[in-house]
Symmetry: C2
Subunit: 170 residues, 2 copies
DNA sequence: ACTTTATGTCAGCCTTGTTGACATTCCAAG
DNA sequence: CTTGGAATGTCAACAAGGCTGACATAAAGT
């Protein structure tokens, strides 16, 4: 009787009949939910004159302190020129520190400064708060399903980044 | 033992303990999954010289044939100038037809032409295919949870648009 | 008649994608 | 050792698609 719609009894998890209407509903759910997902950080960012691109950079530099520009590029999926512009303003504004690589001097290792860590916390607090409320409202079973579907929707290459819990700077 | 993490037995759905790490995982799941979600349509759109904005317009005009510009604005959450640019190119290219309203001649009712419907089908086929694969891989329970969490994550005003299955042109 | 509403349009700005050109650094083959 | 190619990061310029503000038009409503 779940909303996932099976035509008949148990064991049909692998033979799911999915109508176009159910799939459209899923598509619009992603569209509308993503707007909510980004709404709170967007407001904070605007106050400080930053955009979503800065948020992404700050988030992943926080998650992988000391990561290289190249690694960030493969996570974010933009061109290095595009990332560089964002990174430069963050560095100029003293939110991110860029240290020349020790082993390979072509690389730059990226770190959040205290100021950068403050912004990151402010942003992720807001975003976590919305996620927490949604998780609470939906319950633990739903949270598990949510994660399963999203994971199955990722491109395989991005799924690797998602699953790499803390690969450090590699 | 679900990944939603409850500290103890049954009945704790309303007292969920959610670690920052679990919430971060949910946040990144949204980020990476949304990229996959838009990847296939983006490729098709690029071939034809359109962007994501055109996709959104075409999608919701298809869903609500005969809708007005104003209704589209409230769904998409952009300015009329921004929507108008997109709409104008779609009309000029013969994908969308704009008819003067019958009751209220100030309004324009928007319809997909056959050419527009063809593009819409091509885009939504691709997107549905990815959604279908993800739903199949995750199973019906997961699909239900996915929808519950996403719905809880929306802003209330957008949730109305989501739930309005076919409000037509109102 | 006057106001409000719905829509369209022009001009200009900002963010954030893109490509192309270029500097620096490293490494490996000669 | 040197030299050429690959990897890395920076600068410049352009395009899409957001935004605001100003203004025109037509149709409703009062």
């Amino acid at each position: 009787m779940s909303d996932g719609a099976t035509p008949s009894g148990p064991g049909s998890e692998t033979l799911l009949f999915l109508t176009d209407e159910q799939l459209r509903k899923g598509i619009e759910a992603m569209f509308f939910a993503y707007r909510g997902f980004t709404a709170d950080p967007d407001r904070i960012l605007e106050e400080q004159g930053y955009g979503r691109a800065h948020h992404r950079a700050v988030h992943f530099i926080h998650r992988c302190q000391g990561t290289t520009v190249n690694n960030l590029l493969s996570i974010l999926g933009v061109t290095k020129q595009s990332l560089n512009r964002v990174l430069r303003t963050l560095i100029d504004d003293g939110l991110v520190e860029s240290r020349v690589g020790l082993r390979d001097k072509r690389e730059r290792n990226l770190y959040l400064t205290e100021k950068g860590a403050n912004l990151e916390r402010k942003l992720s607090d807001a975003q976590r708060e919305r996620m927490r409320a949604a998780f609470r409202a939906a319950g633990p079973e739903a949270v598990s399903g949510f994660r399963q579907v999203l994971e199955a929707m990722m491109d395989p290459e991005l799924r690797r980044h998602y699953q790499a819990v803390r690969e450090g700077m590699s």
